[in-house]
């Protein structure tokens, strides 16, 4: 019990850290995922190959390895001394973007054929077809898988805690290093994560209902 009360400021910082790294990296994943999904269905072959390669590579790389790459290789390429928060959210965002891309692509596939055909027959270009006609309709089917992708992202953010980010796993590690019993620590961290994941799934359910009314 007093694990939480004695160390509440650290726990609060960890909680906020988890929320913020989740928020930033889900934004990165969303933007990148949609762009790569656009690449994967585009009429330009090299972009298609790039999209496929991106997804295959990211999906078959363990996230921990990606973190290692971002913490040891990327600073050498860009500039040294980037903050662990930036590097962590980039790694998480890149990894998750491949899942977002696949979700968006299968969403595009569920839009009825006639829609794109109609768009083309009134002379829309590829970009117009995608932006004005197909993607808005795909949004509805993409939302449920996106919800589980973002929940997975929240859970994966624990790995960032092992790479010197202040978040909930970092707190768990700190507490067990301080010699507290692991069971109550585990329970509190679990509750912290459950709050975040339930909030995300609640938000997405709300969004889903909104979208349904619009139809």
């Amino acid at each position: 019990m007093n694990v939480l009360l004695d160390n509440f400021p650290a726990f609060r910082d960890g909680f906020i850290g988890t929320v913020s790294i989740t928020a930033v990296s889900s934004l990165i994943a969303l933007v990148l995922g949609v762009v790569v999904a656009g690449f994967r269905v585009s009429p330009v072959p090299p972009l298609r190959y790039f999209g496929t390669a991106w997804v295959t590579l990211m999906r078959n790389t363990p996230l921990t390895l990606l973190f290692l790459i971002f913490f040891f290789v990327v600073p050498e390429i860009l500039f040294p001394g980037m903050s662990p928060f930036v590097l962590g959210s980039l790694a998480l965002g890149f990894y998750t973007s491949s899942f977002v891309c696949e979700a968006v692509r299968s969403g595009i596939n569920t839009v009825p054929l006639g829609q794109a055909e109609a768009a083309r027959s009134i002379g829309m270009t590829f970009a117009q077809t995608l932006q004005i006609v197909v993607l808005p309709q795909a949004t509805r089917t993409v939302i449920p898988p996106l919800s589980s992708i973002f929940i997975a992202l929240t859970k994966n953010s624990a790995i960032a805690g092992a790479f010197s980010n202040a978040e909930l796993f970092g707190w768990q590690k700190l507490m067990s290093d301080k010699g507290y019993d692991i069971v109550p620590v585990f329970i509190w961290v679990a509750i912290g994560y459950l709050i975040i994941t339930f909030t995300i799934s609640g938000l997405f359910r709300l969004l889903e209902r909104r979208m349904e009314v619009a139809r």
């Binding site: 330009v44 790389t61 921990t64 899942f99 589980s148 929940i151 997975a152 790995i159 069971v183």
Partner: protein
């Protein structure tokens, strides 16, 4: 909808434009890669000495041991998660309420917690000196929950007539489950099960954090204990280890795809679900379960919704 529906067959103008995009796009990617390589080379990460360390027998032995350690943890976790998955799936479909509740609570709880938290708690709390067992236990618990959901989706997708017929023959509940439902469920869900095993294989890399000497931990040890030209060979080690990881995962993914294709060819039985590697927590809803298309299975496998305008309007 195949991609080609989104754009017209290109005319002469569009062909030129697409070529320009192609060239610009490829150039951008090539330049990006080239700049990265040059920056790395500038800092001496691509010097031959950096890569020479992999010629030493000691380091090769280290890497071989690490691959073995990873595979050992993966094997234990795979067996553990499949056994636990079957038990939990059967438990969740049980006729007895308490068993159902226990199984449901267990699945929902551990599926919604970060795997790392579970592994770390098991390691610190119970198996401090046995990091391999801690890793395998954590992976088994988490992936067992996921496999249980996959199996449950498979069992639910077996046409109802199958179990009704089995009961009509006088089979017991256990017999129906083991001889009728399970085999069909496993067959149809095999690609998804294997995709989840790929996730399990990837997640063995979390052993890094509990200091289990698997591939990634070994990579870190090699890189931080060897000094070449006054630098630590992080880049070369990560490239080598990363290639090994990606190769292992791709092999396993290829197996899933192969089984899926093979299943499509078969003309009998229920359909084989595509092997989706979801973002670590496939729920029953987003596993594209095989539609219960009884014998014949003739219905063309409609990928996504090419079935024209009848999609979920």
């Amino acid at each position: 909808m195949s991609a080609s529906v989104l754009y017209d067959a290109p005319g002469p103008k569009a062909v030129v434009r697409n070529r320009i995009y192609a060239v610009v796009g490829s150039l951008a990617i090539v330049v990006l890669i080239a700049v990265s390589i040059m920056r790395l080379a500038d800092k001496g990460h691509l010097a031959p000495e950096m890569w020479d360390i992999f010629n030493y027998a000691g380091i090769r032995q280290n890497i071989a041991d690490a691959v073995l350690a990873t595979l050992k943890a993966f094997g234990l976790a795979a067996v553990g998660s499949l056994v636990l998955g079957v038990l939990l799936a059967v438990g969740r479909l049980s006729d007895h309420k308490p068993i159902r509740w226990v199984a449901t609570t267990f699945i929902e709880l551990f599926r919604s917690l970060p795997l790392l938290i579970t592994i770390y708690a098991i390691w610190v709390g119970f198996l401090t000196d046995y990091s391999m067992w801690a890793l395998a236990a954590g992976l088994s618990v988490y992936n067992g929950c996921v496999q249980a959901e996959v199996l449950r989706a498979g069992i639910n997708s077996v046409p109802k007539g199958q179990s009704e017929a089995a009961y009509a023959l006088g089979m017991s509940k256990t017999q129906v489950m083991t001889t009728v439902l399970m085999p069909q469920a496993i067959r149809s869900m095999l690609p998804t099960i294997i995709s989840q095993l790929v996730v399990t294989l990837k997640d063995t890399s979390l052993g890094f954090i509990i200091l289990y000497p698997e591939l990634l931990q070994t990579a870190r040890l090699i890189a931080s204990n060897t000094q070449v030209n006054g630098q630590y060979p992080y880049v070369s080690t990560i490239v080598v280890i990363g290639t090994i990881y990606i190769a292992m995962c791709l092999l396993l993914s290829a197996l899933a795809t192969w089984i899926e294709k093979r299943g499509r060819r078969a003309k009998t039985g229920i359909k084989v679900a595509p092997g989706v590697q979801t973002a670590d927590i496939p729920t029953v809803e987003d596993i594209p379960g095989p539609r219960a298309g009884g014998a014949g299975g003739a219905g063309p496998t409609v990928d996504g919704g090419a079935g024209a305008g009848v999609t979920k309007d």
